[in-house]
């Protein structure tokens, strides 16, 4: 798995903004659009926001393919919403809800594409700090997140081992034979990893 995730390297303003600021901006935008509701302001602001977000993609070096790919899975939903709201006699709501969705998804995509996974994970770690009195340990949050990224290839390895084990006995790798050994293998690996962590003083 690519540890860069969906991040697209670049040097635009959005790229340089801190992750926290971007998330806050996203939150603010969505809140405002939702609050504006069906008032006339909403009917203007929502398409304007959607357009602005779309324009921000090429402006940040992200091209136009990415936003279109984001919107593609949304299309069936937009179709259902538009159809249904229009049938129930509220085409204005149909228009607004659809564009709100488009704007929110495009804005969220801007944050995702311009923020490093590691910057985001650091932010989570900082956000977890106020939770310390509840027993949440921020360093552990970061540790588990990194451990998970490292563990993804191990699932494939465990699956390969089970496949091999089937083949060794002349059996095809039927899922009903391999699933349980895969999970058991992963539990055993986790136990060994836990021991290695303890031995290195991280627990």
């Amino acid at each position: 798995m690519n540890v860069l995730g969906l991040f697209v390297p670049g040097r635009s303003v959005l790229h340089r903004l801190p992750a926290g600021a971007k998330l806050l901006g996203l939150l603010a935008l969505v809140t405002v659009l939702v609050v504006l509701d069906d008032h006339r302001a909403g009917l203007v602001a929502t398409p304007a926001a959607a357009l602005a977000c779309l324009a921000a993609y090429p402006a940040s070096g992200l091209g136009l393919r990415r936003p279109l790919r984001l919107l593609l899975p949304l299309l069936p939903f937009l179709a259902v919403i538009a159809l249904f709201q229009t049938l129930t006699g509220d085409p204005r709501a149909a228009f607004r809800v659809c564009l709100l969705l488009v704007a929110a998804v495009l804005a969220a995509g801007l944050v995702t594409f311009t923020t490093r996974v590691s910057a985001m994970l650091d932010l989570f770690e900082r956000l977890a700090r106020p939770l310390a009195p509840l027993g949440v340990r921020p360093d552990r949050v970061a540790l588990v997140l990194a451990l998970t990224v490292r563990s993804v290839p191990m699932v494939a390895a465990a699956w390969q081992e089970s496949r091999d084990a089937c083949a060794a006995r002349g059996l095809p790798a039927w899922p009903h034979l391999t699933v349980v050994p895969v999970i058991v293998g992963m539990i055993r690996t986790a136990e060994a990893m836990g021991e290695a962590m303890t031995a290195r003083g991280v627990d």
């Binding site: 996974v117 998970t148 563990s151 986790a190 990893m193």
Partner: protein, 216 residues
């Protein structure tokens, strides 16, 4: 450091092994999430709910729920862990975002019910619990959320329950069968370190929670 029989055995916190188990089951969910999705209408049918049911059924409420949260945090951070290589913040804002939150509730419900109702994991009990938590609780969050976008609860309910129910029922069966087999083949000890009423014993038991739970 004698342990009086009156002192109930409890487990507190999370050991390093627990953190690793959380990570590994989050990774399993990622593996179940990525490979395929049957696009039926707006929300795809995926194997994800299988992972959401397995984690709490095998690990219990605490570790199970944490592994779902871990998966969601990594997705939110921009790793393409959802079907179709999607990730980041936008899936959470979209019409299917409610299901993602519903997973957390579902895992918590399954874990709590499994821990409190079953001393030994059994297929039928596990199946019923998976239906309550892995279908009931998830839909309870996911359907109203979709309804918010569609402007109609009934329609959202239809898109949810109608389309996903057969698949999710099958996954509830599968998850219970797998969890039962895993519990039989290699039971996972409870989360945390063992503590007793005795303060000193609590510290002493700390470093070695593993050896405190002989398997068998």
């Amino acid at each position: 450091m004698a342990e009086s029989p009156a002192q109930a055995v409890r487990y507190r916190g999370l050991t390093a092994r627990d953190l690793a188990l959380v990570a590994v089951f989050a990774a399993l969910l990622a593996a179940l999430s990525m490979p395929f999705a049957i696009p039926v209408g707006p929300v795809p049918i995926t194997l994800q709910t299988l992972g959401v049911m397995l984690a709490p059924a095998i690990l219990g409420a605490k570790r199970g729920t944490l592994s779902i949260l871990t998966f969601l945090a990594l997705t939110l951070a921009g790793l393409p862990l959802l079907p179709g290589g999607r990730g980041g913040i936008e899936p959470f804002l979209g019409p299917t975002g409610g299901y993602l939150l519903g997973w957390v509730v579902g895992a918590l419900v399954i874990g709590l019910l499994t821990q409190t109702l079953m001393r030994r994991y059994r297929f039928w009990g596990g199946f019923l619990i998976n239906i309550v938590g892995g279908i009931g609780a998830i839909y309870l969050v996911g359907v109203p959320w979709s309804a918010l976008y569609l402007g109609d609860t009934l329609l959202a309910g239809f898109i949810g329950a109608g389309v996903f129910l057969p698949g999710d029922l099958a996954k509830a069966v599968l998850a219970a069968a797998i969890a039962a087999a895993v519990h039989r083949a290699y039971p996972v000890p409870p989360a945390g370190r063992r503590v007793t009423g005795d303060r000193d014993a609590e510290n002493a038991a700390g470093p070695d929670a593993e050896s405190e739970h002989p398997r068998a």
